[in-house]
């Protein structure tokens, strides 16, 4: 019986060869694109580190800016200021964000929940300068700048991040757990507090950490609310404080090249902080996932 030699051939024909080539080409392009993203990040980090390295010193972290005409000095006030701003903003945004998430996922009807999610997403998409102006008009006009007003603006930015992240992990909590608790004669609220929230703690923490990373780098909301500060370290949230992003801006504008190096160094500090915190969040999330799936 004559067998068609090409029919069962396992080698490539011209057509399949072309297909394979296109396939290869696309794969290479996609890989290059992915590598490019990594490269951009690497270039940013390395160049920021290189330019800032000369400014990194003990004084950099412990002193405030030197008075005009003198050399030396540091950014301690900006570091402390950012710490105060972000800590206070976290303290405002996290409890409210969790409560919103609980309302959306545990108590609201599906339609209201959808609407609330949409509102949160829109809030998340609001340009931060708008939030800055809003808080300026609401709190600053007439009474002046203060750290807590900046924190309030940052909290508005953090709120949808925390609420959405929390709401998403709450949705992951199996409804059988809620039923198990309710079947024991626990009220809805006790069920949420005793079973649902502890189960979602890992995810809530992740959302919080990501929101902190975002808030630490925000500049626009602080411009109007806490940017003109005394050249001194202060922990008092009623005073205006300097912050890392605002200080980077100010140092970069300075005529002194040493200040430019400080701006880079401060940028490096900020990037490192955000990187460390994002990695921590990822780790937490991975651990939390594996715990839920176990």
């Amino acid at each position: 019986m004559a067998v068609d030699a090409t029919r069962f051939s396992l080698t490539l024909s011209r057509r399949t060869r072309r297909r394979k080539l296109v396939n290869l080409l696309m794969q290479v392009l996609a890989t290059i694109a992915a590598l490019a993203a990594v490269a951009v990040l690497a270039v940013v980090i390395i160049s920021v580190a290189q330019r800032g390295a000369s400014a990194l010193s003990w004084d950099f972290f412990t002193k405030t800016a030197a008075t005009f005409g003198q050399s030396g000095g540091g950014v301690a006030d900006a570091l402390v200021g950012s710490l105060v701003l972000v800590a206070l903003a976290t303290a405002m945004a996290v409890p409210v964000g969790i409560l919103i998430a609980l309302y959306v996922s545990e108590f609201a009807s599906p339609r209201i929940a959808d609407a609330a999610k949409l509102v949160l997403d829109v809030l998340n998409g609001l340009p931060s300068i708008i939030i800055g102006i809003f808080v300026f008009a609401l709190l600053v006009i007439g009474s002046g700048q203060a750290a807590w007003k900046g924190s309030f603006a940052l909290a508005i930015i953090m709120l949808p991040l925390v609420a959405r992240a929390t709401q998403e992990v709450l949705a992951l909590v199996p409804s059988t757990l809620r039923e198990g608790a309710m079947a024991l004669g626990a009220s809805r609220w006790r069920t949420v507090l005793g079973v649902v929230l502890p189960t979602s703690l890992g995810g809530i923490l992740t959302g919080t950490v990501l929101a902190v990373a975002r808030a630490a780098g925000e500049t626009a909301p602080l411009l109007f609310t806490t940017s003109i500060a005394a050249n001194a370290v202060t922990w008092d949230p009623r005073q205006p404080v300097l912050s890392i992003p605002i200080d980077i801006f100010a140092l970069a504008e300075s005529p002194d090249p040493a200040d430019h190096a400080r701006a880079w160094a401060l940028g490096f500090v900020l990037i490192s902080f955000v990187l460390v915190i994002s990695l921590t969040a990822r780790l937490l999330l991975a651990r939390y996932r594996s715990k839920l799936e176990r």
Partner: protein, 283 residues
């Protein structure tokens, strides 16, 4: 199917009950349902059920998938309240009070009428805390340790876990987890325990442990069990209710076909549909 074919079918082998089933006569009714209809949205899932459940008996609910067994069971402790679309009509009297009546607190209902689910659902807490949680919530904090020991012993789990009480409940096997859920349910001293296919996810050995347990527990509690396993119903239940799906133009809904003492349901059912089901020929 006509009566002739039915007689040619060999009588099914009935699993022997572990002890003589108890009779309902003269017993106090814990639940009396009247015209109970539960709907999801507009479509009724189970319709017009009149059924009495007696104290210190095991009552089994059997029937084909989708006939509303779980729906019926969940309406006995207002678990359906958690499903927004679910609507209950008719009455469920619990010791004479309509649990859907005015002024009845669903949380209080569930506190007296506990539930064990198809899939073990321990809390992501330690074994100890799984049992302790309900006790703490309900303020039964005196003698916590001994209450926990008693519940775990009753659930035939104590010996297996007494050395690892502080370990996570997820480390237990499926059968152990289910017994932990039973311990959790009985620790708060309910009056009734509802079990929705409690052994369907378990192997035969774990299943048999749960069945033994039910014989123990009915001295203290009233048990209602949904099961797909007819041998299991025959082994553990004193009374058996058979539900089936009644087809209508607009789909179908579950109805109660027959309710009687278990041996009667399995050997001399009075309805053809029951006979078809228990002999393995779906009606």
């Amino acid at each position: 199917m006509d009566a002739d074919t039915m007689q040619t079918v060999a009588p099914i082998e009935i699993a022997q009950p572990r002890e003589a089933p108890l009779s309902a006569s003269g017993r106090e009714a814990v639940f009396v349902t009247r015209g109970l209809t539960v709907s999801y949205g507009k479509a009724p899932a189970v319709s017009n059920v009149d059924l009495s459940i007696y104290r210190n008996l095991v009552t089994a609910i059997i029937g084909p998938s989708g006939c509303g067994k779980s729906t019926f069971l969940r309406s006995l402790n207002r678990m359906n309240d958690l499903i927004p679309a679910a609507k209950v009509e008719g009455e469920v009297h619990y010791h004479g009070q309509n649990i859907y009546g005015d002024g009845v607190d669903p949380v209080e209902v569930r506190r007296r009428i506990g539930m064990v689910f198809q899939k073990p659902n321990p809390f992501p807490k330690s074994i100890y805390d799984n049992v302790a949680w309900g006790l703490r919530v309900l303020g039964m904090k005196d003698d916590l340790d001994s209450r926990i020991e008693r519940a775990l012993t009753q659930a035939a789990l104590w010996d297996e876990v007494k050395d690892r009480l502080k370990k996570g409940a997820f480390g237990l096997s499926g059968g152990q987890q289910q017994r932990l859920c039973i311990a959790r349910a009985i620790a708060v001293e309910p009056d009734v325990v509802l079990l929705d296919e409690p052994a369907s996810a378990l192997d035969p050995i774990a299943t048999s442990k749960i069945e033994d347990l039910m014989h123990e527990l009915k001295n203290e509690y009233t048990l209602v069990i949904v099961t797909h396993n007819m041998q299991q119903a025959a082994r553990v239940a004193d009374m058996t209710a058979f539900f089936t799906l009644e087809r209508t133009e607009s789909g179908g809904h579950g109805v109660l076909v027959e309710y009687d003492e278990t041996p009667k349901i399995f050997t001399q059912p009075s309805d053809k549909r029951t006979e078809g089901y228990v002999t393995g020929r779906f009606g």
